[in-house]
């Protein structure tokens, strides 16, 4: 197990380097503006631009720049400077993290609970009216763009423009440390909107696997032993059928923690997603790098956690 974990951590590092090199290439080879000029501002003299180019090593070859970037991270924990905001990238990213975590965790709890509940009920009451209704709605949920659902939700329920003004609207985000009630009020619509598509996907996934599992021989054995149906479904069925859900959940949550771009834009939430989006619009290279690295980090860590949880859920899985 120790060897396995060491290998995974090494692989994580290699992946992170690969992702940053790729980011460098994409945003360096195809830049939409000169980074030095962006950093210098609108009224800079050619001389000032040259100075900045030199100071941030922008006059050096790509490989040197990459080297300086990694050197800064490893020796000083320095992820570079955002040209546009004139602030260290690490500081900017950390200041935006709470908003994204709020969106992601709240929505995740919502979609996990509702998705699993609907999935189990639909599988057990297969072909019932409830099953058919929820599964049809789930397919609609999967087919709807999240930003459009967000706008519809705002149009209906936002307390500034909504027809039934009961919940915080766009731009109403408050940090939980400053105003917990305001935070909750501003988060409810984004949570619901974000959770819809995921809950739809999870309920379909769980229904499918659970139906398959319930046809297995050991389920018949459990029933033959005289176990109550509830125990058979929950302990023998769901426990085996939950593994694909665990995989999907880890990856989805990891991806969301790296920034829920669409939802953050529609609800005007100052999170990582919007930070990255603005960084790309302004070709703010180090900030793009920082946000991409953070997003990749979450995805990779989520993968690792998923594999460990797998071993716990399924005793047959052993890591060499």
């Amino acid at each position: 197990m120790t060897r396995y974990i060491i290998r995974r951590i090494l692989w994580t590092l290699i992946l992170m380097v690969a992702v940053s090199v790729m980011t460098f290439v994409i945003f360096y080879v195809l830049p939409s503006a000169d980074p030095a000029q962006l950093r210098a501002g609108r009224h800079a003299s050619p001389q000032q631009i040259e100075e900045i180019r030199h100071k941030y090593h922008l006059d050096r070859p790509l490989l040197d720049q990459l080297w300086f970037y990694f050197q800064g991270i490893v020796t000083r924990g320095d992820f570079g400077i955002s040209y546009v905001n004139d602030q260290p990238v690490a500081k900017l990213v950390f200041s935006r993290l709470p908003a994204t975590i709020s969106v992601a965790i709240g929505a995740a709890v919502l979609w996990l609970v509702s998705g699993i509940a609907i999935g189990i009920i639909s599988a057990v009451r297969r072909h019932s009216r409830l099953d058919r209704t929820t599964m049809s709605l789930a397919l609609v949920g999967i087919s709807a763009p999240v930003y459009w659902l967000g706008l519809v939700a705002l149009y209906l329920f936002a307390n500034d423009i909504g027809l039934i003004p009961i919940l915080g609207g766009s731009g109403s985000y408050r940090p939980i440390t400053v105003d917990p009630l305001g935070w909750l009020n501003s988060m409810i619509l984004p949570w619901i909107v974000l959770a819809i598509a995921f809950a739809a996907f999870y309920s379909r996934l769980l229904r499918g696997t659970l139906i398959e599992v319930m046809g297995e021989d050991y389920i018949r054995t459990a029933r033959a032993k005289g176990l109550p149906e509830r125990t058979v479904v929950m302990h023998h069925g769901v426990r085996a059928a939950i593994t694909p859900i665990v995989t999907a959940f880890g990856l989805d949550l990891g991806a969301l923690l790296g920034g829920a771009v669409l939802v953050e834009i529609v609800f005007n939430i100052p999170g990582i997603g919007r930070l990255a989006y603005d960084a790309i619009l302004h070709s703010d290279l180090f900030l793009i790098q920082g946000t991409v690295l953070l997003a990749a980090f979450f995805v990779i860590v989520a993968n690792l956690v998923v594999d460990v949880v797998y071993a716990y859920l399924d005793p047959r899985v052993r890591y060499e």
Binding site: A18, V29, L30, R126, L262, Y277, I280, I288, A295
Partner: protein, 323 residues
Amino acid sequence: MSTGTLLEEAFDSDAMGRPEVVAARTPSQRFWRRFRQDRVALASLGFIVFLILVAVFAPVVVAIAGTPGPNTIDSNLLNSFGMPTGPSLEHPFGVDGLGRDVLSRTVYGARTSLEISILATLIATFVGVILGMAAGFFGGWVDTIVSRSVDVMLAFPVFLLALGLASGCSLGNGCAGGLIQPGISTVVAVIALVSWTYPARLIRGQVLSLKQKEFVDASRSLGASNTRIIFREILPNLVVPIIVYASLMIPTNILLEAALSFLGAGVPAPTASWGAMISDATSIFETAWWYMLFPGVAIVLTALAFNLVGDGLTDAMNPRASD
């Protein structure tokens, strides 16, 4: 989950309910037979054909509807505050912030959406199948390169990658040495680039299990070459999973195209695109609800139809999982 359903299933089978002459059918014949019995999927397929016709004959559709062209700007259609006017007899879906007809733009938006999502799916599936087959069949360093590239792609945040590529390639002469020009081909390339990994992984897994099968050994012992085994023995067994998977990628790519357009990285204006229409509507939707509503409904219906067909194909491939 009681014995009732088991009995139902038993009586429902062809052998019990409808005795018929047993004919030898290939797995793919059985696949299409089952699919043709799925009414919801067939109706959805009909809707998709209708949509494709609407997209192809967009000028005719707009002429029949009697609405102006998708890029006709008419400021007379804005009210005295400069806000667009809502649905009326002349403009059933209302007009947008520039006074363009929303119905016409929604119809032309179908072109953008279908063209990009279908093309991107075809390219991604082709690339994914080739790489997945190579990785699964040859193993070794080929597998290492393909699988590790997939890992890197999956760790990369899709939207940021797509946005970066789309904004980089949509300037001047495009990118990749002029191969990818600004416009539709940029969006197609971006979507294909972020979506080939899924079919690649799926096909790799399928090939790994197929190449252990006896019929492959038999073919090899008869002296068949690798090329022959790949294309004559393994590929025919992958046709159905490839069709099913591609059919489920199209709705995903419809949503991805719309999201890219929403973020300003889709086809350039003034080409009509549903995602870009919703993005434009964001600043005025509290009054001009029609501008937000109709393109959104168009996306949902289109993606839903493709998802229903994909579901039907999945059930036909794997009848026991569905029921």
